[in-house]
């Protein structure tokens, strides 16, 4: 009798499992995926400062202390929305924030070149208006550093510890909720 019962409720169990699986899929974010770079060292680079080409930044100069790296661009609408919050993080919590400027248009192989002076003007204007969280911005014109970091677009945010190890790779904007749930625990542990 108990054997018969277990066989007859088997379809129900399968159904409930399937239901749970599909329900989980319903609320998951398809863009959310595990980064391949967690716990890997910051890739080597040597790139100019956005505002002054004579200044060169490297992986060593970047990762002397825990740092939040924010990939952004003035063309990116979501980046505008996270600027005020990032500014609050840098001013109120003392988070060291460095920007990687991600330009979409630069493609020398197709004869397209970015207008750097125009970008500088746009950046200055936008940071004045919405807040400037950045200690400095790295100009990643051909997006090689971004490719090495597995960046798919902007905005994306990384937390790098003082050893130069990538601890968090977040795709999408940083807001109060993301900071509280995902970034702050790791940041506090790093400091």
């Amino acid at each position: 009798m108990t054997k018969k019962l277990s066989v007859s409720i088997l379809p129900l169990i399968v159904f409930i499992l399937l239901l749970g699986f599909l329900l989980k899929g319903l609320f998951s974010d398809p863009r959310e995926r595990d980064s391949a770079l967690i716990n890997k060292p910051m890739p080597e680079f040597s790139l100019p400062d956005l505002m002054d080409e004579s200044i060169k930044h490297t992986a060593q100069s970047l990762t002397q202390s825990p740092v939040l790296i924010n990939v952004w661009g003035t063309w990116c609408t979501t980046c505008k929305y996270e600027l005020p919050f990032l500014t609050k993080l840098s001013e109120e919590y003392g988070v060291k924030i460095v920007g990687i400027y991600y330009d979409q248009n630069h493609a020398p192989e197709f004869g397209q070149y970015a207008d750097i002076p125009a970008i500088r003007v746009e950046v200055k204007e936008m940071l004045q208006r919405l807040g400037n969280p950045y200690q400095y911005n790295i100009l990643d014109l051909d997006r090689t550093l971004s490719l090495n970091l597995g960046v798919t677009g902007a905005p994306e945010t990384f937390l790098i510890d003082a050893d130069g190890t990538i601890r968090v790779h977040h795709m999408g904007d940083v807001n109060e909720r993301v900071w509280r749930d995902k970034l702050a625990p790791v940041w506090n542990e790093m400091n």
Partner: protein, 166 residues
């Protein structure tokens, strides 16, 4: 009419040059390299888009990946080396042929397990019904006996018996 023909000819020459120009954008050292490059464009997946390979997508990251793939192939890197390069940066998501591990092997194993389970269940069920058929054969002979018994106890028979008895 003459003018018309001249215009058409001029147009054809112009278009011909255009096609020629687009064909010559990418040059490879060998056909093998070109083949590898084409295969990689179809096999690598754009990490920004949900279901497009990097040949299909116009996203900036897909353009960058195409460019990097070209660069690596021209350096003489093998197909697997280029795939590893991308997977190390964008994860397994960036490759349309995921490796066999516990999670992905489930996709192959579960249907097989289901089929084996179904066969076992069907076999057990058919064995059971066979057994039932056998018992029903047995009950048929039993029924015949019972029928006889009932017949012998039916009122008619009783009457006959009674008559005999009387």
């Amino acid at each position: 009419m003459k003018l018309y023909i001249v215009i058409v000819l001029a147009f054809l020459v112009f278009v011909g040059q255009q096609v020629h120009a687009t064909e010559d954008v990418v040059k490879f050292d060998s056909t093998k390299q070109e083949e590898t490059y084409r295969e990689l464009l179809l096999e690598l997946r754009c990490p920004k888009c949900q279901n497009q390979n990097i040949a299909d997508s116009n996203a900036v990251v897909a353009k960058d990946m195409r460019q990097k793939t070209l660069e690596l192939v021209k350096q003489g890197q093998k197909k697997e080396e280029v795939i590893d390069y991308m997977v190390n940066r964008y994860g397994q998501f960036a490759h349309y042929k995921p490796p066999v591990n516990i999670a992905t092997s489930m996709l192959w194993l579960l249907p097989a397990v289901f089929i084996v389970f179904a066969i076992v269940m069907l076999r057990r069920r058919s064995l059971k019904s066979n057994a039932q058929n056998q018992t029903s054969v047995a009950s048929e002979t039993l029924d015949a006996d019972l029928e006889q018994l009932l017949d012998s106890n039916s009122p008619e028979n009783k009457e006959q018996n009674g008559d005999k008895g009387a």
